[in-house]
Symmetry: C2
Subunit: 281 residues, 2 copies
């Protein structure tokens, strides 16, 4: 398995910190340079062993990098990749960890030089908790990472970044950026929005009467509002499109309930169970 | 703490089985008679130690009971309490474990003799898995049980059944049956319906791209469609009423998304986080 001399991670939160921890505990990188805005996060990332050195400046941070992973919020990724590409060695591979891909990949195909060795990535891992203190070396084990090459992506860049994620324990799959965004709108972004609105709409008087069901159903609503605002806006077309079938399904069971239609209710709940059972616990 | 000579449990699924296991492991009952329709469930309940004897007939099963707990699906509770009340000793206390209370308590106040010592209960515990093989002696520890006395409930019946649930480790709270149903519509039934419709509306092609967020959000959708059809129908008025604020909240963020209104989105997600954080992980 390939080992790296220097990996630079821009953004040392849960994802960036876990990448660093995974690299370090698997002995896959000699140096892991953490690049962040906040000294406190960098100190925490150093403290937990996720990075071996820290800086608040992108240009010096990526100067010797063989691999650069941009793990900042979706709204900042384009700018951070652009800055990193302008300052890194010609050999360096670049990728990101953003939850949306269409806008980011399209913007970078304009912004980067044709020689830039970038490919978009999205590790489907994480949780409602943020920050490097939550980082885990096994965060990517058995998780899926979607890579989103375009016609312009050099095959060896795709191969090397695929191998990188797999070296952290992940499975990988390739999709076009647009297909990625369509699938994730359905599998992640709409569920997040719905869970959050369920929490928001809950009468405070009812909170003492919640059980494990409510806690599971709304857990993601504890996620960072700013991160999710960026994700939802960056993927608004597919999210709005994926909301429609949910609204239709909910409207149909509301009708069934209004008409006390046990058969229709039971059938809708059975179809829901069939799909949920297909995913596993 | 009061110990029972004979407790009869009608319905030995997850809830009934866990009541039996809790009674047995805490040495709170000499005999636990399991009453069920299916020989297989009764055999499993005997096998895991949740009950000490089993029968498929209610009348002989409750003949010597000091306490009778009806833990069958919501649609059958009224009939089972009625049958038990007709066959049990005059001293016996009766309660149930149904997730809805209004219809059940109202029907029983008509159906039972004025001397019947019944009070409605709802242990807010359980999960998407069913059956006595899933029973756990600690299922009620630190969980809330709502008791729903009416003006006709003898205070000593309420006190004894309250003490019963607390002896299994639960906290208790009293609400009117109608208030219970309003709060649970909001805290449990609407979340269940929404989570199920989210699972149902998910494109099968997107299922490979789901992560822990989707799994948490839709976990309850794996629950028994028949049980939940009965719960939703028995509580349809409050459920329909509690759906409205959710639909309004979702409509508002849909609007915000359509207009790329970052501020409105962020604020809605922040309010959601505040409520979710209040519940704990």
């Amino acid at each position: 398995m390939r080992t790296w001399n220097t990996v630079a991670i821009i953004g040392v939160g849960l994802i960036g910190g876990s990448i660093g921890l995974a690299l370090r505990t698997r002995n896959l990188a000699n140096r892991v340079v953490g690049i962040g805005r906040r000294q406190e996060s960098l100190a925490t990332a150093l403290g937990v062993g996720a990075i071996t050195e820290a800086t608040t400046e992108i240009a010096p941070g990526v100067a010797d990098a063989d691999l650069i992973v941009v793990a900042t919020p979706v709204g900042q990724i384009v700018e951070h990749v652009r800055q990193a590409a302008a300052a890194c060695p010609a050999r360096a591979l670049l990728t990101d960890a953003g939850s949306t891909k269409g806008e980011i990949v399209a913007a970078l195909s304009q912004a980067l030089a044709p020689s830039a060795r970038f490919i978009g990535s999205h590790p489907i891992a994480g949780g409602e908790k943020q920050g490097p203190a939550e980082a885990r070396p096994d965060l990517f084990v058995e998780r899926l990472v979607v890579l989103t090459p375009t016609a312009a992506t050099p095959p060896e860049v795709e191969a090397a970044v695929t191998e990188f994620w797999e070296s952290l324990g992940a499975r990988t799959r390739r999709l076009s950026p647009e297909e990625h965004d369509r699938q994730l709108a359905c599998s992640s972004h709409v569920p997040h929005l719905v869970a959050a609105m369920l929490a928001q709409a809950t009468d405070r008087a009812a909170l003492p009467f919640t059980g494990t069901g409510f806690r599971d159903t709304t857990r993601v609503a504890a996620g960072d509002p700013e991160l999710w605002t960026q994700i939802l806006l960056a993927n608004r077309g597919p999210v709005l499109a994926a909301l429609a079938p949910f609204e239709a399904a909910l409207g149909a069971v509301r009708d069934a309930l209004e008409h006390s239609d046990a058969r229709a209710l039971r059938q809708a709940l059975q179809e829901a169970k069939n799909k949920r059972d297909a995913v596993g616990s």
